[in-house]
Subunit: 326 residues, 2 copies
């Protein structure tokens, strides 16, 4: 193991603070971590890449934002099951010449969000990133482990014809920021003005509320964009869906296209029985009804005034970079 890797592990150990909390009796420093899940609960596991040039760009995203967004991807998946996160695992491959302060910033962003949600960074792996020096990329893979009461995690597959469709928050904010970045690639955006893009908040409290009260019949997080994620939900539930364009809550400045197809909003999309009362706001986050589940094939229709058109998934490639489009 090169010395640089050892120093990263040492840094992670220092920054991630105390070891041996009750739910994580063994963290970094052994062959595996040991986690304790409360009696009567099931284990939830999710894993997500954050790759330079695919999910972020070093010239656009400060390291704190990259670390924060990396963990948000995992926490948001736990939120979409109505789960409680417990621990994270980080695999990190770095170019040899990456300045140590980049790693520090990345870990600060990641561990700040971990601390906010009371979870431990309990392990991971480090390596030198492959490739020739001029073209070596930062590669991160985040694993989040959580739990939910046995049989109670909210799946994608529970939507029934007639259910109402809801989203949390406002959509398109992340795509709006990205479009500004693509329009002026050399200009840096002020992250404070675009928090939804640089520091998205996983909707853990909302997800838990919906699961505890048995409100959501199905749920998914909006990581790929409404059109794509609603398709995923329809496929798993074997139903169709109809959404009304004017009911979709748009972020300030975002176009309808950005709200429909822009990814990385990390809001929740869920369904509830038509006769179920759903609060307009949960844990300080707005909740908006946008449509209805239909029977039949996994197809999504968009109603705009009197017009009705099919809404195919993936209409928008939310991080179209030279790497991705090649």
């Amino acid at each position: 193991m090169p010395t640089s890797e050892k120093s990263i592990i040492r840094r992670i150990r220092q920054l991630s603070g105390k070891r041996g909390v009750a739910s994580v009796p063994l963290g970094i420093g052994d062959d595996t971590a040991i986690l304790r899940v409360p009696f009567g609960h099931e284990v939830l596991v999710t894993t997500d890449f954050s790759l330079e040039g695919v999910h972020f760009r070093r010239e656009w995203h400060p390291p704190e934002s990259v670390g924060h967004r990396c963990l948000t991807r995992g926490l948001s998946d736990i939120a979409a099951m109505g789960g409680q996160p417990l621990a994270a695992f980080l695999s990190l491959a770095l170019p040899v010449k990456l300045p140590p302060r980049w790693v520090d910033g990345f870990l600060r962003g990641l561990l700040g969000l971990a601390h906010q949600h009371g979870i431990t960074l309990a392990g991971g792996d480090t390596a030198q990133s492959p490739g020739s020096n001029s073209n070596t990329k930062i590669l991160a893979d985040i694993v989040v482990v959580g739990y939910a009461p046995r049989g109670k995690a909210v799946r994608r597959s529970g939507a029934k014809a007639g259910d109402s469709i809801y989203v949390t928050g406002k959509l398109g904010a992340s795509a709006f920021a990205l479009e500004s970045l693509f329009a002026q690639p050399k200009k840096r955006l002020n992250p404070e003005k675009y928090p939804a893009h640089f520091y998205p908040q996983p909707r853990l409290a909302v997800g838990k509320y919906l699961r505890e009260r048995g409100i959501a019949t199905s749920m998914i997080d909006l990581s790929d964009g409404l059109s794509t994620d609603l398709h995923h939900l329809c496929e798993e539930s074997r139903v169709g869906a109809e959404v009304a364009a004017e009911m979709i809550p748009r972020a300030h400045g975002a176009t309808l296209e950005q709200a429909l197809h822009g990814g990385e909003d990390y809001e929740l999309l869920f369904t509830a029985s038509a006769n179920r009362k759903v609060p307009r706001s949960i844990a300080g986050v707005g909740v908006t009804r946008i449509g209805e589940i239909a029977s039949g094939p996994a197809r999504v229709s968009l109603l705009e005034g009197l017009r009705r058109r099919e809404l195919p998934p993936g209409g928008w490639e939310h991080f179209k970079s030279p790497q991705r489009s090649s």
Copy 2:
């Protein structure tokens, strides 16, 4: 998500077979997987990179071997805790132009080993590998989740002065094969002649036996090499160690240096009280006493005949490639 990623996920779903076994009620296809751990057990989690040019080379390792070794890395960590593996999660970033048959071979190797140990591939992530086309690498990150009875997982930290030190199997076989590859980089080795390098077997049955009978006071797997991993164990246990060169079981053809410093043997290194009887063979794998734990600083001494010298960790960079040495 590019179509190629969808087709990979489809392929994984097909190849990984039936969903919804009792211990994995929800696998690929939702925001998270759901795992069930038996009552009274703790969850074990480990994550390991397998990066092209760092951990394998496409021109040396057939895809089946890369997939097999990728999962062995994780299973071997579970073995070192004396744990039972339950499920694996695979994050896979691939170059655009990678032939589909490479992915098929990789998955065959990985899933073959998973099947052998009765575990499910329950999720993961896919992405396009970053970098320009001529220099895009295959990146895999494997997560293995397992379990052990509460408080019974064997840690690195339990070795006491006076304990005997043991290893399973024979050491240096993987390094011996690697040296042959470096000596003639253009020549392909026949994987059947070098199974310890191309298809290493995680010592799950041995690890479980040692944990169930309370034999091992501490344990680690030999992934980085005896000198390095014994140092890790000493550091976590706050003890020193003495090993005798002539007692170390060497693989056919392997030099002492390869046995001492060569990584990726995936044998187990463990300690047991001096008065504890340890079988010479467990689950068909030889077990050999190689030395003794000493009190004092985390230092390893090697006895060769009458000579005694310090054995520093990492004396051998076990996969010295152009990427790694740069």
